[in-house]
Amino acid sequence: MSLFDVFDTAGSAMSAQSVRMNVTSSNLANAGSASGDPDKVYRARHPVFATFRDTLDDRAGVTGVKIEGVVESSAPLNLVYQPDHPEADEAGNVYVSNVNTVEEMVNMISASRSYKNNVEIINTTKELLMQTLSLGR
């Protein structure tokens, strides 16, 4: 029954969106973290989405989503003057993580909208299948 494939497709998308949500929450949680060593500072992370062509039937137009990897942002770190910080250098500066809070908030809204869309797809398809099962009763 071909409609069952929808659960796989939408399920993979929900899983990918929840990873995105997790990464976003990690970024937001670490937005203000600072360190004296630029190599130890938290850098913003972003998941890379890709289509899933191995098991689902691509020829029939059915492709799920998978996370190809999580990449660290290469945006420059912020040098902030904080002489009170224990790890501040001689000039009183510390490196603060390169998380862009506005970008992360937008990511969070987009991820939650996409997740909800897929939940709706599953609900509608489930309803269609249930109606098909009760055909002729």
Binding site: A10, F49, A60, N118, I121, T124, L128
Partner: protein, 132 residues
Amino acid sequence: MELNVLATHERALTFRAMRNRVLASNIANADTPGYKARDIEFGAALKNAQAGPQRMATTSDLHLKGSARASDSPAGNRLKYRVPAQPTLDGNTVDTDVEQAAFAENALMYRASLAFLDGRIRTIRYALKGAD
């Protein structure tokens, strides 16, 4: 004759189920870079279904007589790429609003076919059983 009517709606259901998968795939990939949205045209699928089964040419009566309808396979109902209304930086052509509208319309048409099929089955059962 009655069974023919069942077959028409059965084909419609198959088409709607196929389109449902394609549209669900589009919505699932709304955030995937480089994904191109696809859809099946109802007109082309209807034409395929009306064309009737295609038979293999045989030169002897002993040869197998295979037959298939173009509408039975996903490849027969050729998938087409959607033309995006506005460009995106990551090459993704999914417009979630368009896809959601198409999905809702498709689900409604699926229900319509189900209702027709259900009514037809009821009629046949009524004819078989007679009035209670």
